[in-house]
């Protein structure tokens, strides 16, 4: 295919996914999608479900898992017809966790499926034991929320209201679930019409050839990047604090073998499946490797060709190959640790492009209760931290996690929506790892409850093991979670995971989030930069 038409079609296809992202963000009800952009859209292969195109604004981790999600629908519904729309949140089939509802819709052309469109977003609440679904004490997925297997939401263009009724009934916030569902459907409608217009304009054969070619080129480019790395073997490991049940560290280990254009990432020495919710499904594991590689090689196009020359070995029975009903609600923590380990190992393989670790936890907080008039409220929020120092400069302070492009809702919006008051919203001084290029700073958030009573839940990591520096850089500060009840401060026994903290009016929760790891020898830091750090209070 001629390279010019290919470049033109690449832009057109990406624009379709971007436009679907934008539609969902604007129309969604829950702030985790609307403000934090915890969602994604893409085009997926008609037969295999492989990712063909992903939008630029969607959540990076979804790019990989949506391929598995689409495949699950393909396998279950060989009889899919035009106008069908499928919905599900089964994490063992589609990756991530129960909060992520996936809508999958075939695009038909000349009587057969040309490609699939996917729309996935993090819903506010899908039932389970903990409002907002981050339940660090879960031992089975039943405690994390309601599992919806792949089902038809629309059958040949006709809505199945019974499915909508089930989705509403599963949620503590049915109106918000309903609003988010409508927003997903708007995005899919738009995607179908855009793909149809593109096929009208260029023809099925040309667009199909472009999609094949784009994947081949991503693989080609990835092979070239791998070939440029030295041959050899490397190993790295890091630990999750615990599984939310027992305070025992869980190893995440990678053994890398690189030879010519092949790269093998062997995760076999990682911990076995655990009782708590930091297990992840195989789909999620593969997707997290994809995210790490895309950060390390940002110029490679965003499609599944990236993984063609990479072998990922996922040990059966490990926490990286979760089987039902093992809980998976805290999947973000495990994939962030995989990415950290990969960043550390690549820092050794390719020091000129090394990143210090980012803060390494999603920091999920929910606070829930009832207002004076009995209405239920659920505040659910993710918090930021520092990025790692890198060859270009200091790490970004208060960034979003590498798996997301999420932004944080403003304090004023949160206080207008929920009966809370933020007492502090600040950079955490001294939290960046020292280095020639310092790690970015984490943050301090302190939230006070204004209603008579509420319950708080925190699901976080990095309270025991700090984000690591690279090439001689220092570690970032560890996570510190505390809550104050009646004037007494408490640190959760498991570090940064706790459920059901009873709060009264005036009590509060305080998060001091990790900074990023440093890059290079701190002794070689530029003296002017060091003086600036002291003047600004960036270092203690």
């Amino acid at each position: 295919m001629d390279p010019i038409t290919l470049a033109v079609l690449k832009g057109r296809l990406e624009q379709i996914a971007d436009e679907m992202d934008a539609t969902l963000f604007r129309a969604a009800f829950n702030p985790t999608i609307a403000e934090a952009h915890d969602a994604c859209h893409g085009l997926y292969d008609a037969a295999t479900g492989a990712t063909l195109v992903q939008g630029k604004s969607g959540l990076p981790i979804f790019v990989g898992v949506m391929a598995f999600a689409t495949k699950a629908v393909i396998d279950k519904f060989p009889d899919a017809v035009d106008g069908d729309i499928f919905i599900f949140n089964d994490p063992y089939l589609g990756g991530t966790h129960l909060s992520d509802l996936r809508l999958i819709r075939p695009v038909f052309r000349n009587g057969s499926i040309f490609c699939w469109l996917g729309s996935v977003g993090h819903w506010h609440d899908v039932g389970g034991a903990v409002p907002g679904n981050y339940n660090p004490a879960a031992t089975e997925y039943f405690q994390e929320g309601v599992l919806i297997p792949p089902v038809r939401l629309y059958a040949a263009g006709v809505l199945r209201q019974d499915i909508v009724d089930i989705l509403r009934a599963a949620s503590r916030l049915p109106d918000i679930a309903y609003g988010d569902l409508q927003a997903h459907l708007s995005a899919l409608d738009l995607g179908v019409s855009r793909v149809a217009a593109l096929l009208d304009e260029y023809g099925v054969a040309t667009v199909a050839a472009a999609l094949t070619e784009l994947r081949a080129r991503a693989a080609l480019l990835m092979r070239a990047q791998i070939a440029a790395l030295p041959d050899g073997t490397w190993s790295e490991e890091d630990f999750l604090d615990n599984d939310g049940r027992t305070d025992m560290p869980l190893r995440i280990a990678v053994d890398v073998r690189k030879s010519g254009e092949r790269l093998t990432l062997d995760l076999s020495r990682s911990a076995p499946a655990c009782a708590g919710p930091v297990n992840i499904s195989r789909a999620t594991t593969v997707a997290s490797v994809y995210v790490a590689l895309k950060h390390l090689f940002p110029e490679v196009p965003a499609n599944s060709g990236v993984l063609d020359p990479v072998e990922v070995i996922v040990p059966p029975g490990s926490l990286l190959d979760a089987q039902p009903p093992a809980p998976v609600g805290g999947y973000t923590e495990t994939i962030l640790r995989i990415i950290d380990v990969l960043f550390c190992v690549f820092a050794r393989m390719r020091p000129d492009a090394a990143y210090g670790n980012a803060y390494g936890t999603i920091n999920a907080l929910s606070i829930a209760g009832r207002r004076g008039d009995g209405r239920r409220w659920v505040l659910f929020q993710f918090f930021g931290g520092g990025h790692g120092g890198n060859p270009e400069g200091d790490g970004l302070s208060h960034g979003n996690p590498p798996i997301a492009t999420a932004i944080i809702p403003p304090v004023e919006t949160m206080e207008a929506a929920y009966p809370v008051r933020y007492r502090q919203w600040a950079l955490r001084e001294g939290s960046g790892g020292a280095g020639a290029h310092r790690g970015g700073l984490g943050a301090i958030y302190e939230i006070e409850v204004l209603e008579e009573s509420a319950e708080a839940f925190v699901f976080a990591e990095r309270a025991r093991f700090a984000p690591r520096g690279v090439l001689g850089g220092g570690d970032g500060a560890k996570n510190v979670v505390r809550y104050r009840q009646g004037g007494v401060w408490t640190v959760p026994p498991l570090g940064s995971k706790v459920v059901g903290v009873a709060l009264r009016r005036g009590d509060c929760v305080r998060l001091e989030t990790p900074g990023g790891g440093g890059w290079g020898d701190p002794a070689s830091r530029d003296t002017a930069a060091a003086a600036q750090d002291r003047r600004m209070g960036y270092v203690a």
Partner: protein
């Protein structure tokens, strides 16, 4: 014969200062272009105006400026101090917890006000507007003194929830004024009384950073003009496409962020409406970027917010301009996967394209246009470059694009244009198709020196009806300065359920906003030909965080009845247009009231710019040269400004004028309308 009433529009860009003079009495117009005098803008500015008319005879000078934008982008703003709510000193630096790009974790952020110039004071207002803790005036004064001692030249005060109740901010302002030594002091509830603390803090901080810079710049200009005998009105174009007085601009310099480009869009709206094509997409091809905006029924689309650079957010109504990195200086390269890419990296004006001979070695869009004969290498536009080095351009394209792709130099240059055109087409689709507008209804108005080189390709790619090339595409922004209305906007956060809104109270709130804004018009001392008032609500279903803009159908003066049914109907209409569906049984919420008062200024009769009656096609014909359109074709070349009204030219053809080059593709023809605009359409 009436006395002349001269109005001069001045657009100072990075490379050129463009001027447009119009005599409102006689209808005579003249244009002028000179090199910008960076850092000494007042000199070039006054010289430019003096070249067109005696300053004493000029009744108004209207200025579009990029001084503010450049100061922000180049981090050359003043040192400013910020006083904020205890516990929230770092809002500005923490942003919305975003990052620079999706992939690759590099890139840090330097806040516009450094951390050591951000102070906290005890005070707290809650989301419902109640005051939990009154502000400590002594603490404010102590903080102000300390910030001034630390070198702050401007001061801003931003407290949480001040949009809901500005009392603490106002008390702090009074306290700080008593100790602050200059006029550069502002509170966020005066600048942006809208919910979302980061956006409000960023906008207010950027305003503070600009106050000393823009204030001094405008004062110097004003002094120089007055010293040279100018006694008329001096007005500044705002980002919303309206003008404001110098005093307002000095107080609210953040509103000049898109001053120059906004003026261009205003001109486009006027030109297109006069030509009976009121639905327009503008496409301004500059050196590094392609700027696109949409005009529907003669009215430019406005955006509520713009991000100038990572973390530099300005939230104030502005003409919605979508920018992509695809301009004449955009660099073409073949990436490691063998894909041809054009931009966003740019050769800028230094070193510039290879053909400029200033040390550029990487091929650009301009180089491709030169190699394909589309740009006249012997007589480049603008008049400051001698001739262009077409051979160097061809060598660079061959080496860096042709060889890796296995294409000849000519084919490679054609491929560069195809990819560049595809990217520009993407930007046009973004503002049209993606917003639900059918491109077949729209006319493309290319401006800037290079816009009309790409018009034919863009018509075909996007399916636009036609292109209209204005008579003076290179001075469009200066023309816009002359005709822009005075406009003042205000937003106020209400954040109430629709059901709980009292229409009479809302009516009173709208009237109060309109009266305040009208007072700004009165104070400017400008004569208007008319006034109008507009109100819109930002609304959503309860639970959504994003809103849709709901314009209210009211009389020209903003009067008219309001009731719940009408508000609900207006919301449902706007929501369905945006998302294609309505939600049943979900209550509605009103987040913001947006009001605007517009003082209308005299419009140019564009017929005064029309070609002379004795113009002829024969006299305009300059000869021919070889131009590549998939193959080389002998292509006639015309002097564009010498074409008579009614002339029809069949493509392929090249039309040249001092400030722009127009390419007519094979299969298109161009027609000169009665204003001297060139209308490009598919040949019948």
């Amino acid at each position: 014969m009436s006395a002349p009433r001269l109005v001069v529009g001045v657009d100072v860009g990075g490379t050129y200062t463009d001027l447009f003079l119009f005599d409102e009495a006689s209808g005579v117009a003249r244009v002028h272009k000179l090199a910008s005098t960076r850092g000494q803008e007042a000199v070039g500015f006054a010289d430019g105006v003096a070249a067109l008319a005696k300053l004493a005879d000029v009744s108004a000078i209207v200025h579009g400026t990029t001084v503010g934008t450049n100061a922000l982008l180049e981090r050359k703003g003043a040192r400013a101090g910020l006083i904020t709510t205890a516990g929230f000193r770092d809002v500005l630096e923490m942003r919305r917890r975003d990052r620079r790009q999706t992939w690759g974790l590099t890139g840090s952020f330097v806040p516009p006000i450094p951390r050591d110039l951000r102070a906290e004071v005890p005070e707290r207002t809650l989301a419902d507007g109640s005051i939990l803790e009154p502000v400590d005036a002594a603490a404010v004064q102590a903080a102000a003194r300390r910030l001034h001692a630390a070198g702050a030249e401007a001061l801003c005060i931003v407290f949480l929830h001040s949009y809901a109740n500005p009392a603490n901010e106002r008390a702090a302002l009074a306290a700080a004024r008593a100790v602050w030594p200059n006029a550069h002091i502002a509170i966020s509830s005066d600048i942006l009384p809208e919910i979302r603390e980061f956006e409000r803090t960023s906008t207010t901080s950027l305003n503070a950073v600009l106050q000393p810079v823009v204030g001094a710049y405008l004062a110097a200009l004003d002094d120089r003009l007055r010293a040279d005998g100018f006694a008329g009105e001096f007005l500044i174009v705002q980002s919303n496409g309206g003008v404001m007085s110098v005093a307002t601009a000095q107080a609210l310099p953040v509103r000049t962020a898109l001053s120059g480009p906004a003026a261009g869009v205003i001109a486009a709206a006027h030109i297109a409406t006069a030509a009976d094509f009121p639905d327009v997409i503008t496409g301004d091809v500059g050196g590094t970027s392609f700027d696109v905006s949409l005009i529907e029924a003669g009215v430019p689309a406005l955006a509520a917010e713009s991000t100038l650079d990572f973390g530099l957010v300005v939230r104030t109504p502005m003409v919605e301009i979508t920018t992509i990195g695809a301009g004449g200086g955009s660099i073409a390269l073949v990436d490691a996967a063998g894909l041809l890419r054009v931009g966003p990296e740019s050769a800028g004006s230094v070193p510039g394209p290879v053909c400029y001979g200033r040390g550029g070695e990487r091929p650009t869009v301009t180089d491709a246009n030169v190699v394909l004969g589309r740009i006249n290498a012997a007589r480049p536009i603008g008049g400051t470059l001698g001739t262009l080095d077409a051979e160097a351009a061809a060598r660079a394209i061959g080496r860096l694009v042709g060889d890796p792709l296995g294409l000849s130099v000519t084919e490679a240059a054609g491929a560069i244009l195809r990819v560049a055109n595809a990217r520009m087409a993407g930007a046009l689709r973004l503002v049209s198709i993606e917003r639900g507008h059918d491109p077949k209804r729209f006319t493309l108005m290319p401006f800037g020196g290079g816009g009309a080189l790409h018009a034919g390709a863009l018509l075909r790619e996007v399916g636009l009806a036609r292109a209209l090339v204005p008579r003076f595409p290179g001075v469009t922004s200066a023309l816009g300065c002359v005709i822009a209305d005075m406009r003042h906007d205000r937003v106020h956060t209400l954040n109430r359920l629709l059901d709980s809104i009292d229409p009479a109270a809302l009516r009173a709130e709208m009237d109060a906003a309109a009266a305040d804004l009208a007072a700004l018009l009165d104070r400017a001392g400008v004569a208007f030909t008319g006034r109008r008032v507009e109100h819109a609500l930002d609304m959503s279903y309860v639970g959504q965080t994003h809103t849709v803009a709901v314009p209210l159908a009211l009389a020209r003066d903003g009067a008219g009845p309001l009731d719940h049914a009408a508000l609900m109907a207006a919301f449902r209409g706007a929501y369905r247009a945006a998302y294609g569906r309505l939600l049943e049984g979900v209550p509605m919420r009103v987040l913001n009231l947006r009001s605007a008062v517009i003082g209308e200024r005299p419009k140019i009769d564009l017929l005064s710019l029309a070609p002379a009656a004795d113009a002829s096609l024969a006299a305009a014909h300059l000869g021919e040269r070889q131009v590549w359109f998939g193959d080389w074709r002998a292509t006639p070349v015309f002097d564009r400004l010498a074409l008579p009204v009614g002339a029809v030219i069949a493509g392929p053809a090249v039309l040249e004028q001092p400030d722009a080059t127009i390419l007519l593709d094979p299969g298109h023809h161009g027609r000169v309308d009665r204003f001297g605009n060139l209308i490009i359409e598919a040949a019948p």
